[in-house]
Subunit: 141 residues, 2 copies
């Protein structure tokens, strides 16, 4: 899968998995809702009930900004399997233009976030590595 | 979500994300099919077309056996969101009883693997940490 296909797949995916490592090097994994524009991926700590571990990702990013995000499609027809993995450097913002822009793009993608819009910390990932795989593409290609 | 619930959710999930880190510390993420019995999770490098990066997970495990696996459910009704994350030490086996038992449990779970059964390397994770989260459970609890 080329980068253009990978970008389309990731952008339209509704959920992905964020991996953060922190200083300890032990990987934390959590599903995220997110929005992609260009090489920027944004996510927000939503206003759902959360455990302390749901905030581990923020601490980890401070300690080690390098993150990975995976979106994938599962189907019992394994010829339809695909995944897209991106990597980049992440930062967290709690206010300002970066926060506003991120919330706007998230609200545009997810009706669930419209009212009230999220106010929590935003994670911004500057993607510098795209990798995509598709069973069908490899079969056909 | 308690460990019993987490175990049920993970065991019945059809796909999960495996995170391996390797010596470099850069996280590799890949979707896996898998089977769980007790505290043991097994997966196999299947016979689908694969890129070299799909084998990165095996190299990473040799360099750093600590892995994490996340399964989750997504639904547009966010009250139905859940995830289960486990951690453990992984090893890879290419033959012997561990390989046979793993293949047997994978074939029992996935009709797609029945004919021919997979012959590739098996990843065995001894889970020592279970963590589960469910939006509904937190709302109700």
């Amino acid at each position: 899968m080329g980068t253009d296909d990978a970008r389309k797949r990731l952008t339209s995916a509704r959920v992905a998995t964020l991996a953060t490592a922190g200083r300890s090097g032990e990987t934390d994994l959590v599903p995220i809702t997110f929005a992609v524009s260009g090489n920027r991926l944004v996510s927000v700590v939503d206003h759902k009930p959360k455990t302390t571990t749901r905030l581990r990702r923020l601490e980890n990013i401070v300690g080690n900004p390098r993150v990975a995000v995976l979106a994938h499609g599962y189907d019992e027809d394994w010829d339809l399997l695909w995944w897209v993995r991106v990597r980049g450097d992440a930062r967290t913002v709690t206010s300002g233009r970066g926060h506003r822009d991120a919330v706007r793009s998230l609200v545009a993608k997810y009706a669930q976030l419209v009212d009230p819009p999220p106010t929590g910390s935003v994670i911004i990932v500057e993607i510098d590595e795209w990798l995509g795989w598709s069973a069908r593409r490899l079969h056909e290609g």
